[in-house]
């Protein structure tokens, strides 16, 4: 790109393995790109200023708050959203999704996609201890569960799935 400043920007963004090219307003947030342009509404927008973590997605391997990133900054990036976790052919949930289901780790579900993408992005070996898990989850707010069932789900998923943070599809 040149140093010309533009109010509309051409971007090529890969979401869950599919590359699309669009012209978008420079001010379009990545969270709104994912929901309104890519049409993937599993990513939820909560506070829209980086506090709640509901909109967490994975950008080039790292968990990121998509409301604190512009679509323009994601040009050339590979994004994964919650829609990429379950097996697209069979619909089978990822081990972490299944653990959330089994342990009742959600009530209203608004924050869940953000939790799942944070968890999906990390190496369980680094974050498995109870203290580290709590530290990891401090970046995602849940107002229903009190976190107890979430930490139980994480412990269960990571105790049976030592080597991977979750399944890798797509």
């Amino acid at each position: 790109m040149t140093s010309e400043a533009l109010t509309e920007v051409a971007v090529g963004i890969t979401v869950n393995g599919r590359l699309s090219r669009h012209r978008v307003p420079a001010r379009l947030l990545l969270s709104d790109y994912i929901r309104d342009v890519a049409g993937l509404t599993g990513t939820h927008v909560g506070c829209e200023h980086g506090y709640c973590g509901s909109c967490t997605v994975i950008v080039d391997g790292d968990a990121v708050r998509s409301c604190l990133m512009l679509a323009a900054q994601a040009d050339g990036a590979e994004i994964r959203t919650v829609e990429d976790l379950a097996d697209s052919a069979t619909g089978a949930l990822s081990p972490m999704q299944q653990a959330f289901h089994d342990h009742h780790a959600l009530q209203c579900g608004f924050c869940t996609a953000g939790f799942l993408m944070t968890l999906e992005s990390v190496d369980p070996a680094e974050w498995r201890s109870p203290e580290r898990t709590v530290e990891l989850l401090s970046g995602n707010l849940c107002r229903c569960t009190g976190y107890q069932n979430i930490t139980e789900a994480v412990a269960a998923a990571w105790s049976t799935n030592h080597e991977e943070g979750g399944t890798q599809h797509g």
Binding site: S3, A5, R27, G139
Partner: protein, 288 residues
């Protein structure tokens, strides 16, 4: 909320970035954007042109040598946190970064961006002052280097002039016999500190010899606690602490009141953090 309209550019070189920055009064540098974008979403910041510096080659480097650690303007906090060489050379970098935001914030947020943003409650500006870091900038008038102690002028206010871009920050290597402690009181891990402290402490034979103490969250800019440093010299565990606590509180006499804490609470908190850091440093020395 959504940010108000603005123009965006992604230059390939520092020279181009500086040219765009200088061409508009309300242009801003976009590195990680983890403070700037929320401020824009809230419409607290008026920006006409955003200059994204992440495409500039080499700006994301982290270089470690015998003299210290050089952190490029686009290097993320996560990247520096994970750098074992940087942590050995300047232990305060890892110690401070553990307190900065959450994982998702550190994955985008940059070390230099935090310095340029100059939030009075942030850890990295205090670390920069404590370690005698130097901030290297390029602007329309060329390059210059600013000592950290001269860089932070007040809340969200630095010595940067219009059109200037921070290109890197250099943190001198910490002497191996010095212990660095970064500690803070916050409501929740990752939140901004109510009050915090960066301490670099030299100790021998069970007593503090010299110290460098810098408070954050207690003033408009990182605050050197000169009286507490003097009071702490010669102290060992079990000795009286009242003089040290009074000195630390006096250093923070201008600490502010807000919804989270009173000025009095902040002064008491810093005094407690100073003693905690001294005990931690003495214990660390004993284990060596």
């Amino acid at each position: 909320m959504k940010p108000a309209p603005f123009a965006y550019c992604r230059p390939d070189s520092v020279a181009e970035a500086v040219e765009v920055l200088a061409s508009s009064e309300s242009s801003r540098v976009l590195a990680g954007g983890q403070s700037l974008i929320p401020a824009m979403n809230f419409r607290l910041t008026d920006v006409s042109v955003l200059v994204d510096i992440r495409a500039i080659a080499g700006l994301d480097s982290v270089t470690v040598d015998a003299d210290g650690v050089t952190v490029g303007a686009a290097a993320t906090q996560s990247r520096v946190l994970a750098d074992a060489g940087a942590a050995r050379a300047v232990p305060g970098l890892r110690a401070a970064l553990r307190h900065v935001g959450h994982l998702q914030i550190r994955n985008r947020g940059t070390v230099c961006g935090s310095l340029a943003h100059a939030d009075p409650a942030a850890e990295l500006p205090a670390l920069a002052v404590a370690t005698d870091a130097r901030i290297r900038v390029t602007g329309p008038g060329g390059r210059r280097e600013i000592a950290a102690r001269d860089f932070f002028c007040g809340p969200f206010w630095t010595a940067l002039e219009d059109g200037e871009l921070v290109t890197e920050a250099w943190f001198p290597a910490t002497r191996p016999d010095s212990v660095t402690v970064v500690d803070e009181l916050a409501r929740r891990a990752g939140d901004f500190a109510v009050a915090g402290l960066v301490a670099m402490i030299d100790a021998s034979d069970g007593a503090v010899r010299t110290s460098r103490l810098v408070g954050f969250g207690v003033g408009g800019a990182p605050l050197r606690l000169g009286s507490a440093e003097a009071a702490l010299a010669g102290w060992s565990a079990g000795r009286p602490t009242a003089d040290i606590e009074q000195a630390a509180a006096a250093d923070c006499a201008d600490a502010f009141d807000d919804i989270h804490a009173t000025s009095w609470y902040r002064r008491e908190a810093v005094a407690a953090l100073v003693l905690r850091a001294a005990r931690t440093a003495l214990a660390a020395k004993e284990q060596l």
